[in-house]
Every structure is written in structure tokens, then in C-alpha cells.
């Protein structure tokens, strides 16, 4: 291998930097912050190179690195990039510096805090690029550890009660997933995602599982179903899929702003990515078999979390539920993509639309939710720790630019056409409606309620008379404006020229859509 290992660089540079921060800037929080910002921008250079050299017309893996690791267990160190993972790599690259900037005023942080964030960044890149289960799972678990400590040490009042369930729950899910993959390995002898997808497509996996694990008699579906649900549990907790979501509101609400941004912007995408990379290609048959149940779960998540958000009085919890709602559309799209297609004309196009929509929605949600959580963080700092819906009012008068940018983010989150949120939602609804009409129709309730709670938030916080105690509310500083500028610009760019993003994804989703639409089980 004489090529430069760009993807490995992406992972290891943040790791090395994290180590450096932890060693040399342990105590000096201010210097650590500046160093962390510079370090977190280094992967941007690599990402720029990757974007520049990525062949958008190709559906397969690019920049592949493959090295033997534990040959006897078919464990390889294998990385690659395709249309599904590139947008998430870009998203991570954008969000980590943004998260650091978002809590620039934070006083409690020290070198270890930033070291953990950079460590998390490296692991995120690992999850989005690894192509062999073994390294993928390592990255997956290693991203959990910094997240746990970031909440546990730097979180708010209820940080312990929030961090522990978060850890246990995700850990349980991971355990189930690991078992499933061990069962798969024992049956088909590979951990390689591309190979597993190939086997899943050809229907080999079911038979192999039965042949190798066949404790049960005739019912050959049992093993594959069990293995499927094991993997499902692992990724479902992360997204989260209803009803495995109850760790999320507390964790998001208690985490410090920058960590919440990473949790919602990047970590939740690991889950959706898992659905896209593992479940959909390897187990399309099982998804199809359980389609109604899975769609109903996604739908319940969309609807219940939207209504729960409507009830919240804490802005951060409200946005946390809103995140569950938004990622619910992604899951709806992924499940619907495995629907039986024999009655749908042009099914390949509809599935491709759905998958494009899922990736765009992931990216858009990453941008919009990060911006909104950042604003809530700023509200909290300015309001002396207050962040209740009823604590404010009329802030638009004191801080028009603050309100304007918050408004843009809120409207992007509620899917206003012209901004990024609409593209993903439109594509998902288009595809899902054609494939499973009832699911799309049910999901519109979520769209309505999302608009309702976001506009209520605008009304309660920014509109109405300005109370005397907030008259001195500072508007966005130049620093904050510059922080927000890239995200706000992206909202418009993706909303107006979605081809820039869709163009990266489309070849991949077209290929996957073609074989999903031909799939007969």
C-alpha cells in the first residue's frame, strides 16, 4: 500500500492531538481550548482533500485501506468511504469545531474535556469509515466512553442520573449487537460489511445461521430474526428508536452544550448509519418480515416524541424530543426502503429517493439541531442558568440578530422549504408514501406538531413584551455570529442547491435501491 492512508489520518490525528492535550494542557483550560480548536480543524484539511478527490459518480467504496489484523478471526483493519459515509464525515468535521466554539465562554472546562472531545472526534470518523465489524465495534464503543465521561463530569445538576442510564442502556444494546455479530461470524466466517451485505443480498445468511447454530428444529427463521434483533437493539438505542429512547432527554439536557451538540449532531447519526450500513443491506428480508412493527415503532417515535416535546417546559428537553422526532423520519425511510415493492411502479426510484432523503435528513438534522442547541446554550449563559420556556419573553426586541438566526434554525428544523430541513423530509415523504402510504400519512402529524412547538418556543421566548430584567440582554457578539455563520450558510446552501449533497449520495442509494427493489423473499 503506497497510497497515503487518508482515512487513517482522519482517525489518528484527533487521537494524537487528544493525547497531546491531555498531557500538556491538563490544567490550563484556556490554552487547551484554543489548542483544541486548532487541532479539531486539522481533520478539515483531510476532509477537504477527500471531498475533492471523491468520485461522486461511483457507488462503491473509495480510499479503501485494508490490512490484516487478526487473520485467524478474519479481523481486518479495513476503512473505506462511500456516498453514505462521506456526508457524515463532513458533518463530523463541521460539528466538532463548532461544538468547541459554541461553549467558548464555558469556564469549567479543562484540557481533559477537550482531549475527550478530540478522542470522540477520531472515533466518530472511525465509525463512519470502518468496513469490518471488529474495528467498527471498537470505534463504536470507544465513542461511548468519552461521551459518558463528558456528561458525567461536566454535566448539569442531574448529570449522574443522566449519564448512568445512558451508559448502561447503550452498553446493553452493544452487547446484544456483539453477540449477533459473533453468531454471524461463526456462521459465515466474515466480519466484513461489504461481504456480509453481499451474503445478505443473496439470502445466504439465513441458511448459514440455521446450519451452524441450528439448535432449533424446522423454524429456520428464528436465528436470523434473533441475530437481527440483536443488531437492531445495538443501533436502535443509539438513534434512538422508540421505545429505547428514554435515556436521551435526560442525557441531552444534562450534558454541557458542546457535548449535547455532538450527541445530537454526530453520535445519534452513528445509530442511523448503523441502520443504513448494517441492517438494511444484511437483513432486508427480516426488516420486510417485521415491516409493520418497525414502521409502527418509527411512527410512534415520531408522534409521541413530538407531542412530548410540546409538553416540555425546558428548552433543552424540548429540543431533545425534537431530535427523536427528526431521526424518526430517517428510520421510517430506512424501514420503508425494505418494503415489498411488487405493487409499486418505479420502486427503485422511490427507494432511491427515500435513501437520499435519509442521508440528507441526517445531515440537515445535524446542522439544525446543533445550531438550536447552541442557541439554547447561549440563552442559558445569558439567562444565568435559566432555560425554561416560560422564563423569558420579548427577547427579539433586545436581541434581534439572536432571534433572527434562532428563527432561521427553527424554521430549518421544522422543514421550511428553501432551507435544508425540507429537502430531506420531502424526499423521505415522497419515497415512503409510494412504498407504504399509511406510514407517510401518519408521519405528517409529526410535521404539524414540530411546527407547533417550535413556533410556541419562538412565541414564548422571543415575542411578547420584554420583561424589565431582560432589557440588557446582549445580542450576538461578533464572535458568536462568526460561529453561527457556517451553519446558517449551510442551511441555505443545502436548501437551495441540494444537488451538492444529493449528488454525493445518489449513486450509492441508486445501487442499493436497485437491488432492494429486486429483492424477493
Amino acid at each position: 500500500m503506497t497510497q497515503t492512508p487518508w482515512l487513517s489520518l482522519l482517525i489518528f490525528v484527533p487521537w494524537v492531538m487528544a493525547l497531546g492535550l491531555a498531557c500538556f494542557y491538563r490544567k490550563d483550560g484556556d490554552a487547551a481550548k484554543k489548542a483544541a480548536l486548532v487541532f479539531s480543524l486539522l481533520p478539515a484539511l483531510v476532509t477537504l482533500f477527500l471531498v475533492g478527490h471523491f468520485d461522486a459518480a461511483r457507488a462503491g467504496m473509495q480510499f479503501v485501506e485494508r490490512h490484516d489484523w487478526i487473520p485467524s478471526l478474519a479481523v481486518e483493519y479495513c476503512l473505506g468511504l462511500d456516498g453514505f459515509s462521506l456526508p457524515l464525515v463532513i458533518l463530523t468535521t463541521i460539528l466538532v469545531p463548532f461544538a468547541i466554539l459554541a461553549s467558548w465562554q464555558e469556564k469549567k472546562t479543562d484540557g481533559v474535556f477537550y482531549a475527550l472531545i478530540l478522542f470522540l472526534q477520531g472515533n466518530l470518523y472511525g465509525v463512519f469509515t470502518a468496513l469490518n465489524f471488529f474495528p467498527w465495534f471498537l470505534f463504536w464503543e470507544m465513542s461511548l466512553i468519552p461521551a459518558f465521561f463528558l456528561i458525567r463530569i461536566w454535566g448539569g445538576q442531574g448529570r449522574i442520573a443522566a449519564a448512568t442510564p445512558f451508559f448502561i442502556y447503550t452498553m446493553l444494546g452493544s452487547a446484544a449487537m456483539l453477540l449477533s455479530f459473533l453468531a454471524l461470524y461463526i456462521s459465515v466466517g466474515t466480519f466484513d460489511f461489504v461481504k456480509l451485505a453481499e451474503l445478505g443480498r443473496t439470502g445466504v445468511i439465513e441458511g448459514a445461521l440455521y446450519a451452524n447454530l441450528g439448535l432449533t428444529p424446522a423454524d429456520s427463521n428464528m436465528w436470523v430474526t434473533l441475530v437481527f434483533f440483536g443488531v437492531l437493539l445495538g443501533v436502535a438505542v443509539k438513534v434512538p428508536l422508540f421505545p429505547f429512547h428514554s435515556w436521551l432527554p435526560a442525557a441531552y439536557a444534562e450534558a454541557p452544550t458542546s457535548v449535547t451538540i455532538l450527541l445530537t449532531g454526530a453520535l445519534s447519526k452513528m445509530g442511523v448509519y448503523g441502520f443504513l450500513r448494517l441492517l438494511l443491506p444484511i437483513f432486508p428480508g427480516v426488516i420486510r418480515e417485521w415491516l409493520e412493527v418497525l414502521l409502527a415503532l418509527a411512527l410512534a417515535g415520531i408522534i409521541f416524541s413530538a407531542f412530548a416535546a410540546l409538553f416540555q417546559k425546558d428548552l433543552k428537553r424540548m429540543l431533545a424530543y425534537s431530535s427523536i422526532n427528526h431521526l424518526g423520519y430517517c428510520l421510517l425511510g430506512i424501514f420503508a426502503a425494505a418494503a415489498s415493492t411488487h405493487e409499486v411502479a418505479g420502486a427503485a426510484t422511490e427507494i432511491a429517493a427515500t435513501l437520499n432523503g435519509v442521508v440528507v435528513q441526517m445531515f440537515s438534522h445535524g446542522i439544525s439541531a446543533a445550531a438550536l442547541f447552541c442557541f439554547v446554550g447561549w440563552i442559558e449563559t445569558r439567562g444565568g442558568g435559566l432555560r425554561g420556556l416560560e422564563d423569558f419573553g420579548g427577547l427579539r426586541k433586545a436581541a434581534p440578530i439572536f432571534c433572527g438566526l434562532f428563527g432561521i434554525s427553527a424554521f430549518s428544523s421544522l422543514g421550511l422549504p428553501g432551507l435544508n430541513g425540507f429537502i430531506g423530509e420531502f424526499l423521505i415523504f415522497k419515497g415512503v408514501f409510494a412504498l407504504v402510504p399509511w406510514a407517510a400519512v401518519g408521519a405528517t402529524v409529526g410535521l404539524l406538531v414540530t411546527a407547533l412547538f417550535l413556533l410556541t418556543c419562538m412565541e414564548k421566548v422571543f415575542h411578547g413584551p420584554l420583561p424589565e430584567k431582560w432589557e440588557k440582554w446582549p445580542d450576538l457578539s461578533l464572535f458568536e455570529r462568526v460561529t453561527m455563520l457556517p451553519l446558517a450558510a449551510l442551511m441555505f446552501v443545502i436548501g437551495l442547491c441540494p444537488q451538492m449533497l444529493v449528488g454525493l449520495v445518489n449513486p450509492c442509494s441508486t445501487r442499493m435501491a436497485e437491488w432492494l427493489s429486486r429483492l424477493w423473499i
Binding site: A352, A353, H463, G503
Partner: protein, 687 residues
Amino acid sequence: MISKTWETLLVVKLLWIIPAIPMLAAGVLALTPRGYRRMAASLAIGSMVLAFLFSCLAFYATMIPLPYSEAWRQSYNVPWFDIGHETVRVGWVLDPLSALMLAMVTFVGTCIFVFSTGYMAEDENFTRFFGFLTLFAGAMLGLIISNSLLLLFICWELVGLASYLLIGFWFHKPSAAAAAKKAFMTTRIGDLGLLIGMVWLYSETGTLLFYDGGFGCLETKALIGLVTPAISGGTLAVTGIALLIFCGAIGKSGQFPLHVWLPDAMEGPTPVSALIHAATMVAAGVFLVGRMLPLMGADMILFSGSSPTLYIVAMVGSFTALFAALIAVAQTDIKRILAYSTVSQLGYMMMAIGVGGYPAAIFHLLTHAFFKALLFLGSGSVIHGCHHEQDIRRMGGIAGSMKITFATYAVGMMALSGVPFFFSGFWSKEAILHAALTWTPSMLPFIFGLCGAFLTAFYMTRMMGYVFFGNYRGDSCHAPHESPATMTVPLVILAVFAVLLGFAGTSFWPWCQSYLTAQRVRFGWEEFLHAWPLTGGSIAMVAAGIGLGWKLYISRPVGGADAPDILETMHPKIYNCLKNKFFVDEFYAATWVRWCGAFASVSDWMERFVWGGMMRGAAFFTACLALLNSETDERVVNGSFDGGCKVLKASSGKLSLFQNGKAQRYLCVIGAAFALLLLALEMGVKL
């Protein structure tokens, strides 16, 4: 002809410039600091005038002499993004409908922009106001020229956003903030119908372009596909799609039962009410139904000549026309009366489309835009002159002090009431009623329309009586005064058009009808004489309405500001019911709003106890597992571990430590569990 076609093509290709100009201005104004008031106003008005000039050019390009060649409708499409092997395209279309609307919106818009410079002169957010107005104008113009339902939907939502921003422009007033939210939410209910209709249409026809050289969704090929059960998978598809799209129109155009937002929208500054909530945006619903007419009526083929979709459109429209007119009779806020009047008139337009009078509907849309903008701006002038008083009971007798406003307002009132021959409203309303009379499925639209005509004349006369006649009942220290020229000149211009425009669609010279349908509509004496009893009847209705209003409110001046309305003394119960708008808002508050809140609290309860409980259960289960593990360590493996393991033993036993969240413990537990299970799996293999 060849050169003409070439010109048209070029105009069509560059049609996007028309919405782009105000959009660009909006972008610039969004970044303009508050201080640059003059620049903001000039930029906004300049962009609108420029858009108007380009619109005139576009309008000229569609003036092809009859009989039309195929060039009368031109579209131009561009790719937007890919899905699978297909490409989502958007585009713009130039045909008589879009050309007429372009000219109307830019012209009325310019008048209202000029008026706003006077009306908003003292507002500190003057710059922002013009920014929002230009955003609206850009989105509205985009909506008009869209050749794709997707692009139309995007602009549709953007005008909704502009409406939200402008209704809530005085955001420090809680009522304005609430009205803005209500408007956005209510229209969004309809918009979700439109969204579903759109994706359904997309999946059935494979395109959202209206016209695409024979392959658009409004062209014969796609429509035949839609009504052929073998292709669409069921006869209901076309009706379902059309009705869902109509849902969007119901929301935007304030039709029953989603009309509740429009009267509340009057919380916005008056120029906004004139431009958005009277002349242009609310007519977008009618425009949409008009634009989608080939689809709306497509189910005709399946139901032997009468389309259920259009039947519903006609019924919703005619019911709204009567319903809102009834409410308008008992309102006391000058702008709310006009708002209910708008709802009612939009009902007429919907009804017209439903009964097959598409040109009549669009003609009424145009005339209504002018005279309703005139009335709203007139009421703005009145409000301005009466020191921001909106209650008509506290006005009165201001005809003398506000002469220009009074004269122009009277023109608007007569146009709206349908006073014969010299006012545009007469001709357009006549055309609608004529279409309703000839509609065979039901006579209800015609009857409702006729009753509505009577009520319209009545409530407008009542309003005139309250506002301009009798004695001034407002605050006596501040006498009402006439508004500055920036406000009166637009009034005069609009008044001229409120008269003149009628002559473009009289039954003697039905230019508008011919132009819109691209068919020569000739004047025939026979039909004219045939329609005379109808014309006579509707004139009688208008006369009766004005006469009754005159008798009750003008010949006998209204009493003091707090005196009950004369209708209230006559029929208190009916008046009360009308005054409270048939309690629709209260009904919604008691049902949907409450259910929504209840469901939200149920969701929250479930979050806390059911799903949260599940999580706690899982945590407890894990904890038990950990305990079991530690016990095993203690008793079974005791002593055989080395010193490092003792540390582990000491720390892993306690549940409390577990809850302290030391990650390595969990890893340890889970690692052990893996090992066990792996063993089990291995044994499974051997078995």
C-alpha cells in the same frame, strides 16, 4: 408569428428574473441596518417597479392574436437534483393566467409599498418591514410562475413564512404573536394535505412539472394515466390527489373550516392586510385550484361528466361565501369586517371554479385584488387618521375631514357590493352567479351566492354608515385628519382601476374570458337577454342590501360609541351568534386544541413512567447481573485470582459503586457475559 414565438421563448427563459428581483432586495434588506430607512424603501419600491416592468413585458408576450397557436403557453424547466436515475426538475411557465397574476401582483404590490412608506413612517423596524414585504413579493411571484408543483409548494410555504413574519410584525403585542402562530399553524394543516397530495401525484405520474412538452402532470398523457384504473391502481387516486391539493387551498384561502386564521391575521400592519391577506396571498389558493384545473376536473371522466372534486370545491366555496358574509354583518373592527369579507369573496372564487366558471373566478380574483386592496388601504388611512383606532363604533362622520379617503373608499365599497355597470365587482360577480346558475348538479351555490350578494351590500353600507356618516364618536381632543400624499395617491390609483378593470370582462366585451381560455368568447344578444332576469335579480339584491343598510345606519345616525348595534336591539340572540363568529374558534379550542394538549400530557406521562420505567428496569436487570457476577467472584472463584483481580473484586461488588458509573465495571461484566455466551455458541456449533 415566428419572431413572436422566439420572443416569447426568450421571455419565458428569463421569467425567473421577476421573482428574483424582489428576492434579491429582500436578501439585501435582511442585512441592512435599521438606520437606512430611505434606502430600504427605495430599494423595495424600486425592485417592485422593476418587477412590474418585466411583468408587463411578459404580459405583452402573451398577447398573441386569436386564434392561438400552440405558443400560447410556454414553459422552461431546469434540473434541480437527482433521485435514482431520474432528475427532479423545476421550471416556470408563462401563460395568460400567470401573466395576468404577475401584472396584478406587481402593480398592486407597488401601490401598497408606496402606501407603506407613509403608514409605517414612524415604526422603528421600518427597514425590516420592507425586507419582509419584498420577501413576500418574491415568493408570491415565484408561486405564480412555477411550472412545478414542488416549486409552487416551496414558494407557497415561503409566502406563509412572510405572512407569519408580517402578522407578527408588532411582536411585542402578545395578540400579534399569537395570531402569527395561529396563521402559520392553521395553514400548515392544509399544507400537509397539499404535501401528501403532491407526493401522491408524484408517485402516480412520475413528474411534478405541470407542462413538459406533453409529459407534464397536467397534460393529457398523465391525466389519462391517472384516470385509467389499471395504471393508477384505483379510481380514487385522481379524486384523492385533487382533494388533498384542495386542502392546501382551503388553508391558504381561508375557506371553511380553516378560515379562523384570516380574521386574526388583521393584527398585522394594515398594508400587510391589504397586500397579503386580501389582494394576493390568500388568492393563492384560488390560483392553485385554477392552475390545477385539468387535474381537479379529471375525475369527470369517471363520474359521467360531473366531477366530485369540483362539486366539493363549489360547495365549500359557496358555503364559505355565505357563512363569512353573515359573520361580517356583526363585526365592529373595521379590518375584521374586511377580513370576513375577503373570506366570503374567496368563497365566491372557489365556487366559481367549482361550477365551471374558471375565467369568472380569475376575473373576480383580479377585480377583487384591486378593490379589496383599495378598501384595506382606505381603512388604513382611516385608522391612521383616527389615531390608530380600529373600532368602527368610535369613528363616524369623518367623510368631511378625509375627503379623498372617503371618495376612494366609496368606490371600493360599491365595487365590492357589486353596484351595477360602473364598478368592476359587478361584472365579475355577475359572471360568477351566471356560471352558478347554469351549473346542473345543484342550485345551492347560486342561492348562497345571491344571499351573499345581499349581505355584502348590507354590511358594506353598515360599515360606511358607521365610519363616514353621523357624528364623530372618537376621542374629541384629536380630530381625524387626512393622510399624506404617499397614502392617498395609491388610493386614487387603485380606485381608478377598481372602476376600469370591470370593462375588461363585461358580457359585451369578454376580453378577460377569451384571453384566459384561449378561445374566442363572443358576445351574443340571445344569451345576454337570456341572462337578464338573473342580472335583474342580483341588482335587486344589491339594491335591497344597500337600501336596508342605508335605512338602518345612515338615514338614522348611529348613537353613541357604546350604544348597541341596531341589529342587536332587534335580534340579540342572532346578533350575538354572528358577533361571536358562530363560535367556531371556541369549538376548536374546546376540541382540537384541548385534545392536542391532553395527548401531549399523555405522551409526557408515558415518557416518564412507561418508557422511562422500561429503562430503569433494564438498568436494574444489569445491576442484578453485576451482583450475580460479583457473588460468583466472591464464592466460586475466590482465592484463585491474583492481586489485580482483588482490586476488581473489592470495587465491583457494590451496587452503589455501580451506580457511580465506573465504565470499566460494566465492561468487565459484559465481557464476562460475552465469554459465557460465546462458549454457549461454540457448544452449539459442536452440537
